[in-house]
Amino acid sequence: MLVPVYGFLEGDVIGLLLLVKDQDRVATLVTKLQESASVRVAPRPGMSVVHRGKHLDPALRIAEAGIEALDRIDVRGPDGF
């Protein structure tokens, strides 16, 4: 099942809509958001997903991580909140 989420990349100026599958890994969000924002922010290694204030394990599947349609996710560097 497709899950649309709002993605916010650290250092970017705008929130983007991302479409992922519920069986995709959380790491997919990092890749997709960095690709989508790459015209404004160069992709960086070591980024992770923050959802409802918690850093998520990149190996988790989207559904397991509790990410639901139209949730906000943030992709942040190691020093991010």
Binding site: P4, Y6, F8, E10, G11, D12, V13, I14, G15, L16, L17, L18, L19, S36, A37, V39, R40, V41, A42, E68, A69, L70, D71, R72, D74, F81
Partner: protein
């Protein structure tokens, strides 16, 4: 024959007591606004500047003659070709957003001319409606004449009839402000907040920049409009004073609501023009400096005069003064094919100027432009889609603008679930506005929700051409086609291939 001053008082305040209907039937709260007060409470309502119909049309005819003579002289392609390209694109932004919004203001003022609670208020609103007709016709006349020279000026009339994202946002505000608002809300929102406060940015700030840039047509047009606005804006304080007396909390709510909504609109329309589309050598002040001098100080003084507080979100607003228009401009630049005017990259001089004017925010905004420049070094001039966003962007469920509030390191977007519906807002004030009047805003679908419902295409290029109504001739580009003297391009072997670009688009 009576002298003017002998009959003006009676003419302005011609009123009578109802015998066939009650006062509340003639002026229902739904259309006249709240607080609903007996007519007696409004009996002493006075507008500071009093005019007669004869004086009005005589004065307006002279002003029209002056504007149209300037138009004959300056609104010609050969004159516009002398203006900086960036400035001309700022004109396209104004040309689209201004005239039909003014036409909606005709409707709002005519409603006040019928349902305003004081006879003198109704008279003043009738003149205001005539003013707004003028503010519709003048820019339509001037800018539509430029279409043969530049097709993007076609959006002067077309804009509000499209589903372009900026038009959706502008219509959302204009519809509420001018077509939906009752006379009390209209007077406080439009005459007090919008015209007494924010339009100073246009009439004083932007007209000064027009003069600096040598755009005498725009300067004359905007100054002529300003003389009308200065008169009919006086409806606002007189209505506000009465509302404060009877329902101070409601007055505060309307002010806080419309200050925020007006701020977002002007950050785009005026913020882009002042800090990006006016050539740096002609800039006299930054957008933030204009805001502080002409809006913030005066607005706070006005609030204090009525014993009102500054809006609860004041700290967020002050932060937004440093960030918001920069964030939304950089976003718009990377989605420029979604708008009807061209945008420019700031060059080294602009970077230095912006860094000096915005020491707090520019260190976070500049890296975005460095990255965009880097992308242009990998693309040939004119290959705009190589330096363009390809993902659908998020839109606020209140203001309908893109999610660009906060800072690059902490976007201020916030979510809400209501009746099983998930919503997102660009900022806490937008969420607060929605939660304050959910029945008013709840039925509106932002562009993302339309895409997800299958009502709009999910592919950016299709969204631009099939939904926003733009095409190859009109969609926005880099104003210099990415060809800047200070930009050093990579050798052909190091550039991005056409196949990579077409894959992304």
């Amino acid at each position: 024959m009576l002298e003017r001053d002998e009959w003006l008082g009676l003419a302005r305040k011609l009123d009578w007591d109802f015998s066939y209907v009650s006062e509340s039937e003639a002026f229902p709260e739904q259309t006249s606004g709240k607080p609903w007060l007996p007519g007696e409470a409004w009996r002493n309502w006075e507008e500071p500047f009093k005019t007669t119909y004869h004086d009005y049309v005589t004065c307006q005819a002279e002003k029209d003659a002056a504007v149209y003579s300037i138009k004959e002289t300056f609104a010609r392609p050969r004159n516009l070709e002398r203006l900086p390209k960036t400035w001309v694109n700022g004109l396209k932004l104004h040309a689209a957003t201004l005239p039909l919004a003014e036409f909606a203001a005709v409707v709002g003022n005519l409603r006040a001319a019928r349902f305003g609670r004081a006879a003198a208020w109704r008279t003043a609103a009738a003149f205001a409606a005539l003013d707004e007709f003028r503010h519709t016709e003048i820019p339509l006349q001037i800018f539509s004449g430029l279409v043969p020279w530049d097709q993007q000026f076609d959006w002067t009339h077309k804009f509000y009839h499209t589903k372009d994202w900026v038009a959706v946002a502008a219509r959302h505000m204009v519809d509420e402000l001018l077509l939906l608002a009752d006379p009390i809300e209209l007077a406080i929102a439009t005459n007090f907040v919008f015209e007494t406060g924010f339009t100073n940015l246009q009439f004083i700030g932007l007209s000064a920049l027009a003069n600096e840039t040598g755009d005498h047509m725009f300067e004359a047009m905007i100054k002529s409009i300003q003389t009308d606005e200065a008169r009919h804006a006086q409806i606002g304080p007189a209505v506000l004073a009465e509302v404060v007396k009877h329902d101070k909390a409601y007055a505060q709510y309307l002010l806080d609501k419309w200050f925020w909504r007006s701020w977002l609109l002007f950050a785009v329309v005026t913020g882009f023009s002042m800090d990006y589309l006016t050539p740096v050598e002609h800039r006299t002040q930054s957008f933030k400096e204009f805001m502080n001098e002409w809006v913030v100080e005066q607005y706070l003084e006005s609030l204090a005069r009525y014993g009102l507080k500054r809006p609860w979100y004041w700290e967020s607003f002050l932060e937004a003064l440093d960030y918001y228009h920069h964030m939304i401009y950089a976003s718009a630049y990377t989605y420029r094919a979604t708008v009807w005017f061209d945008l420019a990259m700031p060059g080294p001089e602009e970077h230095a100027w912006l860094a000096a004017k915005y020491p707090r925010s520019w260190p976070e905004i500049a890296p975005i432009w460095r990255r965009i420049e880097e992308r242009w070094t990998e693309c040939d001039p004119g290959l705009d889609f190589g330096v363009h966003g390809t993902a659908i962007v998020g839109f606020c469920d209140l203001c309908q603008l893109v999610l660009c509030n906060g800072t690059p390191n902490r976007n201020a977007a916030t979510t809400l679930t209501r009746d099983g519906q998930k919503l997102i807002f660009c900022s806490e004030p937008c969420r607060w506005l929605f939660e304050s009047e959910p029945e008013r805003y709840g039925g509106h679908k932002d562009i993302v929700k339309r895409v997800l419902a299958g009502e709009a295409p999910g592919n950016v290029l299709e969204l631009i051409t099939k939904y926003f109504g733009l095409d190859y001739a009109t969609w926005g580009r880099d104003v210099n086609r990415g060809d800047y003297p200070w930009l050093v391009r990579k050798s052909p072997g190091q550039r991005r291939g056409d196949d990579a670009i077409s894959r992304e688009t």
